[in-house]
């Protein structure tokens, strides 16, 4: 039943694609009988986004700290594997990947609706953490990496990002004051 429903939906999508742009040359398919969602017809794709160039220098970050928290340690394990793999593929330098200790919130409530004060029930909410620190990254790389990571964040997992930026020393404190005073304070 489930398979027939799924195949009905895929057939409908395929028919939509074929009705939109049909070219007989590309309709020749070389795969097996089971219908799969393959875009064989030519679909007009939008023009690829142009690379934006601006005069401002890119922001530099000394450290990008991504902390994820969740209730399930197994989910965080797999997400850490995914994030570290993504960082390695993009060529980012992983400084540290570690697991801060978990936090447990405990509640003690009365078990019964009316009386029985001596009988309580205890609940706890465990929050596990995982921290990935990436060092010496540029602003645009950080943006790309974070967008990819955040789009694939699993449900029930929250993320906190801390960026430590490097800035140029402002002009008015670039030279120490005692250097200028040396010439003035002669006596």
């Amino acid at each position: 039943m489930a398979a027939s429903m799924a195949s009905v939906r895929t057939v409908r999508v395929l028919s939509k694609i074929f009705h939109g742009h049909f070219t007989p040359a590309t309709a020749v398919q070389h795969h097996t009988a089971c219908p799969r969602l393959v875009h064989t017809a030519s679909v007009s794709s939008p023009p690829s986004p142009a690379i934006i160039e601006s005069e401002e220098p890119d922001a530099l970050y000394q450290r990008l700290s991504v902390q994820v928290k969740g209730h399930d340690r197994a989910v965080l394990d797999s997400y850490e594997f995914f994030a570290t793999l993504a960082a390695k593929e993009l060529g980012l330098s992983l400084e540290k990947v570690f697991e801060p200790p978990k936090h447990i919130d405990k509640l003690t409530l009365l078990k019964s609706v009316h009386i029985f004060k001596k009988h309580r029930v205890q609940y706890e909410m465990r929050t596990h953490y995982r921290c990935i620190q990436i060092s010496r990254i540029t602003g645009s790389s950080a943006r790309v990496y974070l967008e990819y990571i955040q789009r694939n964040l699993p449900e029930g997992v929250a993320m906190e990002v801390t960026k430590t930026a490097i800035e140029k020393i402002p002009e008015h404190i670039q030279k120490p004051l005692w250097d200028e005073n040396k010439l003035d304070a002669s006596g």
Partner: protein, 163 residues
């Protein structure tokens, strides 16, 4: 007096180490947990996997029915999520009445609300599609966020155990 006491304690220790120490067991009314448990009966009541396992098996043999970040440390909005969940469960139970095979699973990923349901095919596919579209539209208008329903159809309720 002291000698008899010592003899009594020695007897007691012998019994407890031997393992034949018997006493009256009495549980007060509230000492047994009754939450989300279906008690053992005659053996004619079919149970799904979800119903057969007790709540202390969550995380070990069961998964979570509703996944959101409201209950994490230093995150808010848990009460609103609970309210939304209750409404969604009742709404879908009523819309697809007697079609649900098991509890709904509600996931929140970013802004999107994903409802995963296992249903019995009692209606025609066209009616199913209409009800799916109707629930998605209504719920997305109520909660101002994209709502997606992922459906799995089953011939009949999957029975794990009879209690």
């Amino acid at each position: 007096m002291a000698a008899s006491l010592i003899r009594q304690t020695k007897l007691l220790s012998v019994f407890s180490s031997a393992g034949c120490f018997r006493s009256i067991h009495c549980t007060a009314v509230c000492l047994k947990n009754r939450a989300a448990r279906i008690r053992v009966g005659k053996g004619d009541r079919p149970l799904t996997y979800e119903q057969a396992h007790h709540p202390h098996h969550i995380g070990h043999r069961k998964g979570w029915l509703s996944q959101h970040t409201g209950n994490l440390h230093a995150e808010g909005g848990a009460a609103e999520r609970v309210l939304e969940d209750v409404f969604i469960r009742r709404f879908i139970f009523g819309t697809f009445h007697s079609c649900l095979a098991d509890e709904l699973i509600i996931k929140r990923r970013g802004n999107v609300l994903i409802i995963c349901a296992v249903m019995i095919q009692k209606l025609l596919p066209s009616k199913f599609y209409f009800l799916l579209g109707y629930t998605e539209e209504l719920l997305s208008h109520f909660y101002k966020c994209p709502v997606k329903i992922e459906l799995q159809l089953v011939d009949e309720k999957v029975v794990y155990k009879y209690l």
